[in-house]
């Protein structure tokens, strides 16, 4: 240093050096601070996530291997709103819809609907038959089935499908291996049973059956035939529910005594006031066939297009939406059919002549599990109320993201709560899909964005459609001869549970399940 000082070129003095480096110790203090801070955070994280053994990996990417082999030949029965979504998830979209997506992408580079659709794996199937009682939709289904190259109008189409006016003919066709049933609920059982008897594999939408008796009939037919059956609860593919099961299995929440699930909607479409097609008429709709398995009624466009509003065709909030919530919880807690159910509700907002309540509550008891399952639904308020599993030690909010908060009076976490390591108003665990690991220290902000789909939509740059995965699982199981995640046993539990709530509502009484006799009493 002294030598430097002597250099005539820069003429640095000891004073220069001291003043030049005067603030250097600040960096030392900064380094020490960072060390203390990261050590604290790491301890906190390891104290929670690592000790609980919760190192989550993302769902591995699917390999196309499982889809190889001979193309499966599929028939679709019912091409309404859901039927169209199912076909899209299976890789077939109406060319008009693709035109709309392409235009959207031209207007905004953020419109990824067409890119996402193209990125969806080819499930190696052909649509060989379509069946719908409304001519317009049957023709739309044909157009969609022919779009095997996923092109817009004017693109190369190859028609593989035939229109069947009666489902029995579609099922009898020798060039069909499996059927997707997306009709109103009152048709599900007859179609699934006939398909099973003909040896066709079945994918059927929820609610599985319209009546209790039908649930038994469908279960027997599927089991006797040994076909591969999948019920349309695509929530089975939701990654966060799989992680939720691991959290519950590790007893992180403590003893769970109450589960609260909800439906919150507030728009006509969500309340089943679906559009009435302008071309719908007795000439274009086979009304007699529509009412065949249920009560006779004169032709009604409302009943045909908005069938969920009447008990003759649908299963109400219980079959339509409770089932999704129940199935999500059932795959985590393995609840099965409840011991008892009570329900209440009414037509309080959509007084459009419907029979089916638009506000509905059901409470189910599982005494052998010391647990109550509570469902609350409104079609006239969309205030968000999520799924919550409430345990003695912690509660978990279970959506696409998972958030676990410790309970103020937890026994298990008492020490950590007292030491300030955990706090009842801060999440102790958060899982956000697309992230490699569960995170013990995640900011409220991040959760806010995640819960609104702003975060994980872009992670990895790929959005995955759960319905696509659910159909894919069914097809893979057909090829491998395995049972899918929402098979007939799961479906039976779902159907009976939903019917118990519906019966409790309609008969205004507490309903019990006699497990030994398999009877609702």
């Amino acid at each position: 240093m002294d030598e430097q000082n002597k250099k005539p070129t820069n003429n640095l003095t000891r004073r220069d050096i001291l003043k030049g480096l005067a603030t250097l110790p600040v960096l030392g203090a900064f380094g020490y601070g960072i060390y203390k801070k990261t050590r604290y955070d790491r301890l906190k994280r390891s104290a929670i996530a690592k000790e609980l053994g919760l190192d989550f990996d993302d769902q591995p990417a699917k390999t196309p291997e499982s889809l190889k082999g001979k193309a499966l030949r599929v028939g679709i029965i019912g091409y309404g709103i859901r039927g169209e979504q199912l076909m899209r998830a299976a890789g077939f979209a109406n060319p008009d819809l693709i035109d709309e997506w392409k235009n959207g992408a031209l207007k905004s580079p953020n419109d990824k609907r067409y890119a996402d659709f193209l990125a969806q794996d080819d499930l190696n199937i052909t649509i060989n038959g379509v069946c719908d009682l409304f001519d317009v939709r049957a023709n739309d289904a044909l157009k969609t089935a022919a779009n095997i190259h996923r092109e817009g109008s004017g693109g190369k189409m190859e028609q593989t499908a035939k229109r069947y006016r009666h489902y029995t003919d579609l099922i009898a066709a020798t060039d069909i291996d499996a059927v997707i049933i997306a009709t109103p609920d009152h048709w599900h059982t007859r179609m699934a049973v006939d398909a099973a008897k003909a040896g066709k594999h079945v994918y059927v939408e929820k609610g599985m059956t319209r009546t209790v008796e039908e649930a038994f009939v469908m279960r027997k037919a599927v089991k006797d035939a040994g076909i591969i059956f999948q019920l349309g609860h695509q929530g089975r593919q939701t990654d966060s529910f799989h992680k939720a099961k691991r959290i519950v299995d590790k007893n992180i929440l403590g003893k769970i005594t109450l589960v609260e699930v909800c439906t919150n909607r507030n728009d006509p479409n969500g309340a089943w006031v679906y559009d009435i097609h302008p071309d719908g008429s007795p000439a274009t709709i086979d009304w007699n066939q529509f009412i065949e398995p249920t009560q006779p009624h004169p032709f009604s466009l409302e009943r045909f297009f908005r069938w969920r509003c009447w008990w003759d065709y649908g299963t109400g909030l219980s079959g339509d939406l409770l089932t999704h919530e129940y199935d999500a919880v059932n795959q985590v807690l393995r609840l099965g059919i409840p011991y008892s159910a009570v329900a209440s509700g009414g037509v309080y907002f959509f007084k459009d002549g419907r029979e089916v309540p638009d506000v509905f509550q059901a409470v189910m008891e599982y005494p052998d599990r010391d647990l109550t399952f509570m469902y609350s639904a409104s079609l006239a308020s969309d205030r968000f109320r999520g799924k919550v599993l409430m345990g003695h030690d912690a509660h978990m909010e279970m959506e696409n993201t998972l958030t676990v908060y410790p309970d103020r009076n937890s026994t298990r976490y008492r020490e950590q709560l007292q030491s300030g390591l955990l706090s009842p108003d801060k999440p102790m665990l958060t899982y956000i899909p697309g992230r490699e690991n569960v995170d013990a220290v995640t900011s409220a902000t991040e959760q806010y964005f995640a819960s609104r789909g702003l975060l994980y939509t872009y992670v990895g740059g790929k959005r995955v459609d759960t319905t696509h995965l659910h159909i894919r699982e069914w097809l893979e199981c057909i090829r491998a001869g395995k049972q899918p995640s929402c098979n007939i046993d799961e479906g039976f539990d779902e159907a009976i549970t939903a019917h118990m709530a519906t019966i409790a509502l309609r008969e205004n009484r507490k309903v019990f399940w006699d497990a030994a006799k398999e009877q609702i009493v």
Binding site: K19, G20, Y448
Partner: protein
């Protein structure tokens, strides 16, 4: 009394108290930037995406477009981290102080533009702030402008060594 050339190359005189406060302010804002940069660097999966998506005001679309373009986003993330750390170290150590100060002004200016504190705006980030028109970013901007006009790097800082003029013969 200390004499220094200011940004207009004019002689500026600081009392010891003035110099102490100016250096203190420089180090404090440097610390703030450095920590903001380092914490982003060591936080797994950190991205500016939520902050950019949260943008409001007349440039909101510009910032949100940054967030939705993965390539651009990764560049923004990188520049943010490197920029904050460089500005922080520059201000604390008083090294390339003027460039550091100007870079800080640009960086914080962008934050201010993406999150203007308007009458009607409510932000998720930063949370718990109550501001109207003038927010933390604007105060920082003024502070950095003051540091630009009243530089101290060549008195207390590595610039003193770096820019030491050769002694006149």
């Amino acid at each position: 009394m200390v004499i220094i050339e200011n940004w207009m190359m004019q002689k500026e005189k600081y009392s010891v108290l003035q110099l102490t406060l100016l250096v203190g302010a420089r180090v404090a804002i440097g610390w703030y930037c450095l920590y903001e940069g380092v914490i982003k660097l060591i936080t797994p999966h950190w991205t500016s995406m939520p902050y950019l998506m949260d943008s409001q005001g007349f440039l909101a679309l510009f910032f949100r477009n940054m967030a939705t373009n993965p390539t651009l986003l990764s560049i923004v993330d990188f520049l943010n981290i490197v920029g904050l750390i460089a500005v922080g170290i520059g201000l604390i150590l008083g090294i390339l102080t003027r460039i550091s100060t100007v870079s800080g002004i640009l960086l914080i200016g962008l934050y201010a533009l993406s999150h203007p504190s308007l009458v009607a705006s409510t932000y998720i980030l930063p949370s718990g702030d109550h501001t109207l028109w003038i927010d933390k970013n604007i105060v920082f901007l003024f502070l950095l402008l003051i540091l630009l006009v009243f530089p101290t790097g060549k008195i207390i800082g590595l610039d003193r060594i770096l820019f030491k003029k050769p002694a006149k013969a």
